[in-house]
Symmetry: C2
Subunit: 391 residues, 2 copies
Amino acid sequence: MSWNRVSVVGAGLIKMGELFDQSYEQMARGAFDAAIASVDHGMDPKDIDAVFVATQRGTLWGQEGIGGNTVPSALGLNGVACTRIENACPSGSDAFRVGCMAVASGLHDVVLVIGVEKMRDKSSEEGLLARAAGGHPVYTRGESAPVLFAPFATRHMHDFGTTKEMLASVAVKNHHNGKLDPYAHFQYEVTVEQVLNAPEVCSPLGLLDCCPQTDGAAAVLITTPERAADYTAKPVQVAGIGIATDHPYLHEKDNFVGMSATVGASSRAYEMANLGPTDMDMAEVHDCFTITEILDIEDLGFFEKGKGGIASLEGETALDGSIPINTSGGLLAKGHPIGATGIAQLTECWWQLREEAGDRQVKLRSGNALQHNVGGRGSGVSVVNILTIAE
Amino acid sequence: MSWNRVSVVGAGLIKMGELFDQSYEQMARGAFDAAIASVDHGMDPKDIDAVFVATQRGTLWGQEGIGGNTVPSALGLNGVACTRIENACPSGSDAFRVGCMAVASGLHDVVLVIGVEKMRDKSSEEGLLARAAGGHPVYTRGESAPVLFAPFATRHMHDFGTTKEMLASVAVKNHHNGKLDPYAHFQYEVTVEQVLNAPEVCSPLGLLDCCPQTDGAAAVLITTPERAADYTAKPVQVAGIGIATDHPYLHEKDNFVGMSATVGASSRAYEMANLGPTDMDMAEVHDCFTITEILDIEDLGFFEKGKGGIASLEGETALDGSIPINTSGGLLAKGHPIGATGIAQLTECWWQLREEAGDRQVKLRSGNALQHNVGGRGSGVSVVNILTIAE
């Protein structure tokens, strides 16, 4: 028996990329319109009685710092309940979790969860991360995102014989999938040789082991199973939700071959859904770096600890593999507009479960899909959501 | 019949002020310890299964920008579910709303809602607001907070004959209450003459019409009514919650003598609680400026539109008045550490309803109290929470 108290009745996103030509509000509007258009029987926007906006890094761009206040007006929803959710890289997936709680609490009926992120309108020197680092005792000494993940790759190689070719296979697969996804930032294939020969960013990670900075927006519409029948004959149900934190600093981690937050979040989500990793038909997981996807697929239970690299190399995570991972292209190819990322992943799961994923469609067996993010000083928090078409 | 699905079983805060000697994490720890200590029968922190952190402006101070990730570790709650809620000035009161939904949804049992804000560690020139304004089309032309509120004072004076003495009476009352509150930033009386003769900030508002920038933290502990019995024989119930947005820009407002967001939020909260303004024994309302309190007490239905100024002057909102307002000293005297403000207001309501407010104690009649914030480009969003001791 799954939870079965919240249904997804619409989902959509905008083409990811460097969207200098669109404002924050225009990006939000595009995702909102796409989600509304996806509702099978149509939805009057006036039905929406609460909005949760996921925007992580907006605070240096004027309005976006209070996106919870400004998005409703831009969507024609003035007056509606609206809150901004921030939880580092899982901001979007956590906004979905909070939206589900709003519906399940009985306080809201039809909820819009929308993620919007402007990553490219400021230079690296002017951006929020650079300014946040000012005077910080650790960050100013080089603790950037690649530095937070690379040690996991080094240790995973040391302990399990994981190779750079295995890491590269993740990038190759995700770029392959991204080429099939009309919403992906990057829509071209890369080869193992290109990944291995790319400029080094932080050993052992090269440029193509790293996700890009991407502008984007995505939205989902959720409601009670009862109301869902008004909107669609093909709802997707929320089966499980899990979130867990971990100590923020690297020196506090209990190991460097996995992420405790992901393990905690997924075990909570599986327990709530009464499902396990073998019940999943596909998963969208947090591949901010190639090594992260390898850690994820182990921490989420798809592969034994230490076997994620070889599984990737052998095609187990490809579209026709035993557990297709990041069919959308993942963060590596689709991009990582932070607040939008989790909601874009959920949109991909929704499409897959409704068999609307076109050339990326996976074969459905159990009718369950998993979505995962990890982030916040690397791995300070993780969120896992499980969707299902099972009754 | 009230909602009666969430109970407040603990609440506490730290002394507000310029807390250069405390880190963000230390402030959080202080508020958390105070809340835990307030639980009548004691609480094992391990009982807490979700945390909501309200921090609004943290993003330029390193860790605080991802406070949802870093606060659990600092409180000894590593692993717990944790999310940061940002909603401009109502960030704290909205975090409380989200926490209540988490409990009411059945997904979490014992929830900590904690607000923490560092306002004084950066200069005005270096701070987030200054940087957010960089290149902004309106903000850079002087649209600071006083500028967003002063036109309401001018128009209220024009339409209703409200005077500067009436505005001043709000500051005098709140400083009087603040002197009685050991947690207030400012603990001294001011006179009408001092308020009237203070340096002008933005006509007709002078320095003592404006709240200070304050560091602070506050925390509440909530749970189901069933679990509440484990912690206290004197729980306070959540009767109603309301939130509403309004267009963000001044030129979009439908009037300048009231705030639509407050009207919307309070009507939703009253309806949910099945209570009205005359049922409240006291209220903590958003007095970022003296005029704001006058608008609030009208918009919340305590006084007819246009009568808030004279009611204040005549003492109707004093500790022994018909509806005591801001018994804690309000934002004007207690201070306005943004993310903490709403939660500190709720703590005052909790003390008042438990008759633990010392020299500030009001007479209980119906056993209901109201807490209110408005903010976000002035009045882009409002949250109203209603607490009760009634069964």
